[in-house]
């Protein structure tokens, strides 16, 4: 039971990270109708930016950990958001009215560019950081000496995710930008006729998605203590699986799917085999798409001629 509770905590933390990435997929898919294949690499870039800015701030002589983390968060979000904007501007916007496979292929190309760019820029070796947030609580002391632990790091990951999601939900449901985004999702032409700047709205979607992914990247860096140039690929596919599982286009669905994938992966590693945890996650993607193509919270897609 204790083991189960511990795995539950670990799974929820991992799921929060996937959920943050999945939002970027689901938002872009909802508005533009394409799979932003490079989004996983944006997450990776976010991790790198967080690492580098953290090193810089520490070298500058800052010692207050909360202040450093806040600054790192802001820098990572800002710079990664600019990456998201640039990717959209260069690789997707010229293709908006191209044939249907073009944006997907362009996105694959962009994913290669980002992966190899960070390999060239920062080297292929894994970049470790020492644990920054330490300590935690022992929730329950088991009989066989197995303790259920909740570390401060895990609390931080989950609480940052919740705060960001609250902000994001507010943004989508209450602000002008959110209304524009929802309008573009329903009907781009009509939205444009009613004075919505469609190009700008789509750009902002990519910017917000990238900012959330960068937070996920930073959380990944802090939680696992390392980043490398190849981490975006697998994390990206899993987050996409999460988005599909939750119902692509649905924001609560993305988070729900993220949590589900995180839990499944953790429990699979805990009770079956660590080697096949990625196989489990990818199989879920296939199974969900076959039996439940609209996902948990998605709407069925109506095909119009």
């Amino acid at each position: 039971m204790d083991y189960f509770a511990q795995q539950l905590i670990n799974g929820l933390v991992l799921g929060s990270i996937y959920g943050l990435i999945a939002i970027g997929y689901t938002m872009v898919y909802g508005i533009v109708g394409m799979i932003n294949f490079a989004h996983g690499d944006i997450f990776m870039i976010g991790g790198f930016i967080a690492l580098i800015s953290f090193l810089l701030l520490v070298s500058l002589g800052l010692t207050a950990i909360p202040l450093i983390l806040l600054l790192v968060l802001l820098v990572a979000m800002a710079v990664t958001a600019l990456y998201g904007w640039t990717v959209e501007r260069i690789a997707y916007r010229p293709l908006r009215h191209s044939f249907r496979l073009a944006p997907m292929l362009s996105a694959i190309g962009m994913s290669f560019v980002l992966t190899n760019y960070s390999q060239v820029a920062q080297g292929a070796r894994v970049k470790p950081v020492p644990p920054i947030i330490t300590g935690g609580y022992t929730l329950h002391e088991g009989a066989e000496g197995f303790a259920v632990r909740l570390s401060n790091m895990q609390i931080m990951v989950v609480s940052v995710t919740i705060v960001l999601l609250a902000m994001f939900t507010w943004l989508v449901s209450r602000t002008r930008l959110g209304r524009d985004m929802r309008a573009c999702e329903q009907d781009q032409t009509m939205a444009a006729l009613l004075g919505v700047d469609v190009d700008r709205t789509i750009s902002m979607t990519f910017v917000i998605g990238a900012a959330l992914a960068s937070v996920a990247g930073m959380m990944y860096l802090l939680y696992y203590g390392q980043v490398d140039f190849f981490m975006g690929f697998v994390a990206g596919i899993k987050a996409f699986t999460a988005a599909v599982l939750g119902g692509i286009g649905s924001l609560p669905g993305a988070v729900l799917g993220g949590l589900a994938i995180g839990l499944i992966e953790t429990f699979w590693s805990a009770y079956f085999s660590v080697e096949y945890k990625d196989v489990a996650a990818f199989s879920i993607l296939i199974i969900v798409l076959i039996f439940m193509p609209t996902g948990l919270l998605g709407r069925p897609e109506v095909e119009k001629v």
Binding site: I49, L51, I52, S106, A121
Partner: protein
């Protein structure tokens, strides 16, 4: 009137210079922010696991300068060429002679390919490279059936390549079956896997299908990597038998082909044999594709690529149509895989990564989705280009990604050629709007 219009264009060009400069300046600013942390600072893990960093301001400055200059050039080019695109660049007579040349290019290339082992008999390196190029030509032609003809984006094509390679490797090392028995088996197994994957997932829309095939490719690779008892895991399978000339081994023994023909043995014989083997396999792929394209099934593939909803409305069973395309493509992938295994003599999961899928896909896309000659030329360009920049391993993938994006922007239907549907209406029919108004049409 003409003078006036030239004057106005002149005026707009001179007026555009501040605009261009402003745009370039903005691009440079964006580049500065983008690259400041990633390029300007280099991190590396020290010997004791501690991260160290140093600055590279010179690199940063030169990249930002490059972006500034590059965006001026791009903007100028855009103004001079105009927004009409590449179509106008090639005048009609040139285009006609190009298409005439294109008609002779295929046969000429084929004759040259047939003669490659004769011309370069003593140059092992060129022969090896030619075999590699032909392997990718075959893979490209196989994937072309799926992506180019049927319009299904398959990101996991390498899975079928792996299935073929491992089928041959395991059958040959465990049971000692000969290459010529295993080759059809490898193709069949790959086709069965293709059908097994395709049957449930082919109802999905294009993008979903792409991701599912990608996931499938990764699953196959991970299973091969982890199922140590069967596949040897990361160590791979070694000691895969070399192919024989229909039962006669190509070695330096008394039973060998050289001894039987009464000529002196040379290791090049095997290379030449492998060359003609892959050439025959590739030409088989090409021939089958060309023949299939004339059959109803091939027509249905092309129709499916152009418009799936219309296909369904016309009563084409889209699922079986897609399934046949998928299985056919997978079969050729399996053949190529078996060849790869016998050529290398050693296979490991490392040869079957997503990068390989993307490379084959890029060959098909660059070649112009459906054009057989285009795919062959694209394979030659890509693999040749990779070989030229062999020393710059990491940069070449960077350039490869950039090229993919640029091709999609510049000529999404392919640089080298593109294939229009085999059958199409020569004259577009104009239908009066009266006929299609609501409730009447």
């Amino acid at each position: 009137m003409t003078a006036l219009s030239t004057e106005t264009t002149q005026a707009s060009r001179t007026a555009a210079i501040p605009f261009i400069l402003k745009k370039a300046f903005l691009s440079a600013c964006v580049a500065l922010v983008l690259f400041s942390l990633m390029i300007g600072i280099r991190t590396e893990a020290g010997p004791d696991g501690q991260l160290t960093w140093w600055t590279r301001l010179g690199d940063l400055a030169s990249i930002v300068g490059l972006v500034f200059g590059g965006s001026i050039v791009v903007e100028l080019l855009r103004q001079w060429i105009g927004p009409t695109g590449a179509e106008k660049l090639v005048p009609a007579p040139v285009q006609r002679s190009l298409s005439l040349a294109g008609r002779f290019l295929g046969p000429a290339l084929l004759v040259f390919t047939l003669l490659v082992p004769v011309i370069f008999y003593n140059q092992r390196y060129i022969l090896d490279l030619a075999i590699l190029v032909l392997t990718y030509v075959m893979l490209g032609w196989g994937l072309n059936v799926v992506v180019g003809l049927a319009g299904l984006l398959d990101l996991g094509y390498v899975a079928f390549y792996a299935v073929g390679a491992y089928s041959y490797a395991l059958l040959a090392t465990n049971f000692g079956w000969s290459f010529w028995v295993c080759l059809p088996l490898a193709g069949m197994l790959a086709a069965i896997w293709g059908a097994m994957l395709g049957f449930p997932v082919l109802r999905l829309r294009g993008d979903y299908l792409a991701i599912v095939t990608l996931a499938f490719g990764e699953i196959i690779r991970l299973v091969i990597l982890n199922w140590q008892d069967l596949t040897g895991g990361p160590n791979g399978v070694s000691g895969i038998p070399r192919p024989s000339f229909f039962g006669i081994p190509l070695d330096n023994s008394d039973d060998g082909l050289a001894a039987k023909l009464g000529i002196e043995y040379s290791p090049t014989h095997r290379i030449v044999f492998l060359f003609y083997l892959i050439l025959a396999l590739a030409l088989l792929t090409n021939w089958v594709t060309i023949r299939l394209r004339r059959l109803p099934i091939g027509r249905a593939w092309e129709a499916l690529r152009e418009d799936e909803v219309a296909c369904r409305a016309l009563g084409i069973n889209t699922t079986t149509t897609k399934l046949t395309a998928f299985a056919t493509g997978a079969m050729f992938g399996g053949f190529a895989g078996a060849f790869f295994a016998t050529r290398q003599g050693f296979i490991s999961p490392e040869s079957f990564t997503f990068q390989e899928s993307a490379l084959v896909l890029a060959i098909v896309v660059l070649g112009g989705m459906g054009s057989q000659l285009g795919v062959a030329l694209a394979a030659l360009t890509m693999i040749g280009g990779f070989e030229l920049f062999r020393g710059l391993e990491t940069y070449r993938m960077l350039v490869f990604g950039m090229a993919m994006v640029l091709i999609m922007i510049w000529r999404p239907r392919g640089i080298i050629g593109h294939r229009a549907p085999t059958v199409y209406l020569t004259k577009a029919q104009a239908i009066s709007s009266d006929l299609v108004k609501e409730g009447h049409g």
